[in-house]
């Protein structure tokens, strides 16, 4: 188990280094950092002095090393646009994105698994057919259209829910949450649904396919032959085996939920890291862009690692294989 985690950790570090390299290239070579920091009237000599002082004339590897050193300490410089430390900007907006991402992941998981199991077990019923057709719409419509559609129906026409922003938030010191106020929760509903729909249909179709596959296996037949109850077979034997591959995909989806949040955050003017990124791209605020890149990579790597460990916990066969077949 330890060896397995260490190996995965090493792989994660390598992935992060590669992403860091890309982020550094963006940081260093997209636009001129000095030009972005100083006014047009600064003399060329002064610019040169600044360049020296900021280490921009150092060899590539020294600069890259410094970038990594800073990144590890969470320092990505100062935002050109907002004149604040980038790390502080991201930290301020992180709770909004994470709450949105987890809310939609939860929706996607609960309804995805639920509907997947339902459509697999009740294959051939009209309701299953309807859900399957509806899910096709879910995967094929672009997120922003779904978001705008929901806003039109529930915010403009019915006026049940707010169409933008995060509502009232409560500051817990290290975390600004919208989950504790009614307006915060109400504001969360539409963006969370919008963000979840794509993953929901994906998980549902995956669960359904896996479940149908598992239901055809010999051990399910044998479980039937042993006279086990329908419930024990469907929700014990079949579902547990179905979830093994589903865990991987769902875990990775959580990463992409955070990444895809960009569109949803923009549509709903959700004050998260995604909208911070979009605003930064518009004005080529390079430090923020580089930091965002690193942040998304970190999210993926960490989730990947957790998924692998979870997978390993759920499936006993992996434990043996990883230990070299020894019992």
């Amino acid at each position: 188990m330890l060896a397995f985690i260490l190996r995965r950790l090493a792989q994660s570090v390598i992935v992060m280094l590669v992403v860091a390299l890309i982020a550094f290239m963006v940081f260093r070579y997209v636009g001129d950092p000095i030009a972005s920091m100083v006014g047009v009237d600064t003399r060329l000599e002064d610019q040169e002095i600044m360049r020296d002082r900021l280490g921009l004339n150092d060899p590539f590897y020294v600069q890259f090393g410094r970038f990594i050193g800073n990144a590890v300490r969470g320092e990505f410089g100062i935002s050109y646009r907002l004149q604040q430390p980038v790390s502080q900007l991201i930290l301020e907006r992180l709770p909004a994105t994470i709450e949105l991402a987890f809310a939609s992941a939860l929706i996607a998981l609960v309804f995805g698994v639920g509907l997947g199991v339902f459509t697999a077990l009740k294959r051939g019923s009209w309701l299953s057919g309807f859900i399957m057709s509806a899910s096709l719409v879910g995967v094929s419509l672009p997120t922003f259209l779904i978001g705008i559609g929901l806003i039109y129906i529930f915010a403009v026409e019915l006026q049940w829910l707010p169409s933008f922003g995060r509502g009232q938030t409560v500051d817990l010191g290290f975390w600004r949450t919208g989950l504790l106020t009614e307006s915060g929760l109400r504001s969360l509903i539409l963006p969370a649904i919008t963000l979840s729909l794509f993953q929901l249909t994906l998980i549902m179709r995956l669960v359904r396919a896996e479940m149908l596959e598992v239901m055809r296996t010999e051990y399910i037949r044998f479980a039937r032959a042993r006279g086990l109850s329908q419930r024990a077979i469907h929700f014990g034997h079949a579902l547990k085996n179905t979830l093994v591959p589903v865990i991987t995909i769902t875990g990775l989806q959580l990463g992409s939920v955070i990444a895809f949040a960009i569109v949803t955050e923009t549509v709903f003017q959700w004050p998260g890291v995604g909208s911070l990124f979009i605003n930064s791209v518009q004005v080529v605020d390079v430090p923020v862009m580089a930091a965002y890149l690193m942040f998304i990579a970190l999210v993926f790597v960490v989730i990947n690692l957790l998924v692998d460990i979870l997978y390993y916990v759920v499936d006993p066969r992996l434990r043996v294989d990883a230990a070299g077949g020894a019992k």
């Binding site: 051990y219 039937r224 032959a225 042993r226 006279g227 086990l228 085996n241 006993p316």
Partner: protein, 326 residues
């Protein structure tokens, strides 16, 4: 005469398909007495597994029992409610499948699988069920059962896994065990042991066995009676010694050629040319007629039924006149 444990009468299993209805099991009748082993042989596709699946009520739709009846100790079980049938499966009829590698759920410990089966059928607590599970594993010959019981299936060899499967089939002491090619997927070196364990445990519990196999050698050594199936029909049934020594049906005579250890007599190593017809193209008259060396006119027109021709023997062949038992 005692009541048979299993009594199958005129069982017919059909599959509606786009190109018409296929009859996988066609008008089969046989009995199995308590403690008796009935061997069922026949080529691939003869309907052996389908017969077993019908008895335990596990025919996959759209297949269905379209005729006949199945009685377990006199009670009909082919037309009862799904819940009632579920209570019989595993409790009064145990089933052993061909491949022990895929019969066990890979994500559950052996202990979980046995205990859940015991507790589904018998009103015993967790601790008592576990005690019984260990005893069962011990009975089927798993060394160090008390320790191995919490292992996962993949930690056992194929032969050991089939022993676990046998333990699972027997854990509620069923009246009948259906074993569908229980050793086909196993290493030759362990096949005999597995058959022995199964037979011994069933004998101790006075359970009847329906043993489906391709292997006439296994039948010869294990079964009391043998049923020979061909194209979904019963070709011949009778006591195993009699059938081996003196097969009546031309198809059985051909099959006997496949017991290398028992027949040294070369002229009996008869080959059967051709192959079994597909279900969609079963010939008129006797289904065996295109391959039968003794075919005559009547065979191509009228279909013979498995009728009694001698004490405790039935044959579906026009060569043998029906004998009405006195």
């Amino acid at each position: 005469m005692a009541e048979p444990v299993l009594s199958v009468k005129n069982l017919t299993v059909q599959f509606p398909t786009r190109r018409g209805v296929l009859t996988a099991v066609d008008d089969i009748s046989f009995d199995i007495m308590a403690g008796e082993v009935l061997g069922v042989v026949g080529e691939s596709g003869a309907g052996k597994s389908m017969t077993g699946a019908a008895v335990i009520g596990l025919i996959e739709p759209p297949g269905r029992i379209s005729g006949g009846e199945i009685r377990l100790k006199g009670e009909r079980i082919d037309n009862i409610a799904p819940d009632a049938m579920r209570a019989i499966r595993g409790r009064r009829i145990g089933m052993i499948f061909q491949d022990p590698l895929t019969s066990l759920n890979p994500l559950y410990r052996i202990s979980q699988q046995i205990i859940e089966t015991i507790r589904t059928h018998l009103h015993v607590g967790e601790a008592e069920a576990r005690k019984r599970a260990i005893k069962l594993l011990d009975d089927v010959g798993i060394p160090d059962a008390a320790r191995r019981i919490d292992d996962y299936p993949h930690q056992f060899s194929g032969g050991m896994r089939q022993r676990v499967v046998i333990a699972l089939a027997l854990c509620a002491e069923p009246d009948l065990v259906i074993a569908d090619e229980p050793t086909t997927a196993l290493d030759v070196s362990v096949q005999a042991q597995i058959i022995d364990v199964m037979k011994e445990l069933c004998r101790e519990r006075n359970a009847a066995i329906m043993l489906v196999t391709h292997d006439m050698g296994v039948i010869a050594e294990t079964a009391d009676r043998v049923a020979v199936m061909y194209a979904g029909r019963l070709a011949e049934i009778g006591p195993v010694r009699d059938v081996i020594k003196n097969a009546f049906h031309p198809y059985t005579q051909g099959l006997m050629g496949s017991i290398p250890s028992l027949t040294t007599d070369l002229d009996r190593l008869l080959q059967i040319p051709g192959s079994m017809p597909r279900l969609s193209a079963i010939p008129k008259g006797c289904p065996f007629n295109p391959r039968c060396p003794k075919v005559f006119d009547r065979c191509r027109i009228e279909r013979p039924d498995a009728d009694p021709v001698a004490p405790d023997r039935r044959v579906a062949c026009w060569l043998y006149p029906e004998v009405t038992p006195a």
